[in-house]
Amino acid sequence: MDSSIASYVLQYSGYLIEGGLLLYLAWTKQWKKQRGIIFYLTALLVAELGRAYAGCEYGLSSRQYFYVYWCTDFPLVLSTFLLVWLFFRRACCQEERMWRYIRLVLALAVLLVAGISAATLSSNQHSLFSFFTVEFNQNLYFTCLVLNTLLYILLQQIQSTDEQLGLLVCGVGVQFAGPAAALALDHLTGGEQFAQSLVPSIMRLCTLGMLLVWGYAITHVKASKVVSRNPVLAEIHVD
C-alpha cells in the first residue's frame, strides 16, 4: 500500500512539475530559446498521460497497454535524441565549423543504432514489432546517454560560459543514467521480480530529478551572453 502511494506521489509530482515548467516557459516567452526543452517536456507529458490512461482503461498487463507504452516510447526516444541534438547546437553556436562535424557524427550515431537494432532482427522475426521497438529504444537511450556525456566534456573543453546549458545537460544525464543502469540490472538478473519492481521506481525518481534540476536551471540561472564575432554588429543579449 505504502509503495503504491509513493509511486502515485512520484507520478503526479512529475506531471505537475512538467506542466508547471511548460507554463513558466510560456509565461516568460522563452519559446525560441528553450525549444528543445519545450518539445521534450511536451512529448514526455503526452506520453505519460497516454500511458496512464491506457493503464487505467485496459490494465497494466494488457496487450493494449503494451502497444501504447512502446508506441509512445518511440517518439519519446526520438525527441530525446532531438533534445541532445539541440543542446549540441546551442553549445556550438559560436563554432560553426565544429557544428558541421558534430552534426555528421550525430546523424551517423542514430543510423548506426538503427542498423545494429535491425541487424539483430534476423534472430527474432517472430516478434518483429516488439523486438525492434524495444531494442532500438533501449539502444538509442544508451546512445543519448553517451552523447550527453560527450556534450558535457565538450562544454568543459570549450570553456562554455553558458551555465544554464551545463545544468540542463546534467539533468539529462541524471534522467538517462539511472534507468540505463536499472534496465541493465533487469536484463542481467533475467527479469527477477526485485529488479523488475526497481525499474519503474528508478525511472520516475530520475525523471523527477531531471525536472527539478531543469526547474532550478530555468528559473535561477541565466543563459550566457552571446557576443557576435563581427565588430560591426551590436552585442546580442540572451537571458
Binding site: 546534467c170 544525464g173 543514467a177 540505463a180 541493465a184 532550478y216 535561477h220
Partner: protein
Amino acid sequence: MLVAVLILILSTALFFFYFQVTCQRILGRQFDREYFQSIANANRLEFPSLRKSLEEFDAPLDYSRLRMMLKCDFLALTYLLKNAANVNQRYSHEERLLILYFRWQFLSLALRRLLRLRENKAILKLTAVLQYFANVVGERVNAVKFGNLTAADYLLNL
C-alpha cells in the same frame, strides 16, 4: 551478458558523476557578497577556519574532532536554513539535494579514512557545502530589514 554488465557499471558511474557535477554547479553560484563570514562569526561556526588551515597550511587534523566540527556546523546551518528569515519554513529543492550531497561526502570521508586515502579533498567539498548554506542564510537575513539590527544581531536573537 558482458554488454549488460558494462552498461550497468558505466551507467551507475555516470549517474554518480552527473549527481556530483550538478551539486558542484549549484555550489558554484556567485553571491553579491561573502555573507558566510558574518554568519559563521555570529554562530561560532568553525568551517571557515578549517578551510583556511587546509588550503593555506595543509595542517594535520584530529579526525574525530573534525567529524564532530563538521557535523555540528551542518546541524546549525540546516536549522538556520529552515528557520532564519524563511517564510516557507522548508528547504528548497537545491538545499535538499545539497544536504544529500553533504551526507554522501561525509560517508565518503569515513571510507577514505578506512582505506587510508587522502581526506583533504572530501573535507574541502564538505566545507564548500557549508559555506554555500551560510551564504544563503546570510543573503536571506540581509534581505530582511530589522531597524538597526545587523544580520549577526538578528541571528543572536533567534
